[in-house]
Symmetry: C2
């Protein structure tokens, strides 16, 4: 067994620590966030921190570090209040990862990859054409996590678009049928196969 | 394509909405949180909201809804400041899901499943014996998400224990080698296979 203490973690090589700490919490969600500035510049960026916060109201969160690098996604969301969340599927992982490259604001990741913007029901932010699970979201609030100067962005799901053969009768989405991927660390993309769905757990009698 | 508006989501059958909203953000991390009260009662509970918040310092978050149901995990963390995060592996998904059953505080999930507690380096909270990636964590702070009365618990990773053959030279953990699982919705457990790891993305020239 490899064991690392708090002091070991602090003294680690930076890249080693980035890889270890980013993979030690387990698999992450894999989404592309689509935004558009008020001037009309579109942006697309991979995020692995989209988290379910609640079902009623339907609320999600994600984490940003706005103080260290320019963040077009954050700027556009603050300007317009709107963004889209689009699942990443196994056949497009290379292009999805490429959206993490730092392009200047006037260059759209839609022009640097094969992803095409799609506008649905006059929602201002661009969806990713062909993504099989897509959410239209409205910014609600942000919380400053003062322990490491990050922001938790809290948003409401205003629209859900799901392709055929993914939605089950009870509302559950088969992410395997969608071929949605999951992220391992900073740079690993993996394709899951369902083991089992379980019933609501009740105490043994 | 199935499309749901904000009004559709609000008027949905409760179970349908729970399944849809819990699966629409993509795959989630699959962890067991181990705690022990000051009186010595152990608790083990499945969580799908553990999220990476930062690498330096090594900080994670997870979400709790403390106001609606008793939460032994939360009570024990507030009493002792400590908890463990233990990956869920494919062969133990049934027992892992069973920890979501609501047992009274004096009954330990360790006694109702095949999971065995293990104590490492005098850390007060129990680790799960046999889990291949384990974190010892210290509570730092909590943020009340007022949009839906949830709490984001922010904690520091104080120790990391990784079994053999999972840690790579650059610090990355192969979650596939660990057979760690990921969660689809509220009740689906899936086993991922790595597609590819990519280099750090740089703009095309």
């Amino acid at each position: 067994m490899h064991s690392f203490s708090s002091a070991d973690i602090q003294e680690m090589d930076k890249i080693f620590r980035l890889n270890l700490i980013n993979s030690c919490t387990g698999y992450k969600s894999a989404n592309l966030l689509g935004t558009r500035s008020t001037r009309g510049n579109t942006n697309l960026a991979v995020f692995s921190s989209i988290t379910h916060l609640g079902s009623n109201p339907a609320i999600i969160g994600f984490v940003l570090r706005p103080t260290t690098v320019p963040r077009d996604t954050y700027k556009n969301i603050k300007e317009t209040g709107l963004f889209t969340v689009n699942h990443i599927h196994s056949e497009v992982v290379a292009d999805a990862h490429h959206t993490s490259a730092k392009y200047p604001e006037e260059i759209s990741e839609f022009d640097q990859t094969d992803f095409k913007p799609e506008y649905i029901n006059e929602f201002y932010a661009p969806y990713v054409h062909g993504a099989k699970v897509r959410l239209g979201c409205q910014y609600l609030n942000e919380y400053e996590i003062k322990e490491n100067d990050t922001l938790l962005i809290v948003s409401k799901i205003e629209a859900i678009h799901v392709s055929e053969n993914i939605l089950q009768e009870d509302g559950w989405l088969s992410l395997e049928a969608a071929q949605s991927v999951t992220i391992n660390g900073l740079d690993g993309y993996a394709s899951p196969k369902l083991i089992e769905r379980f019933d609501y757990a009740r105490p043994k009698t």
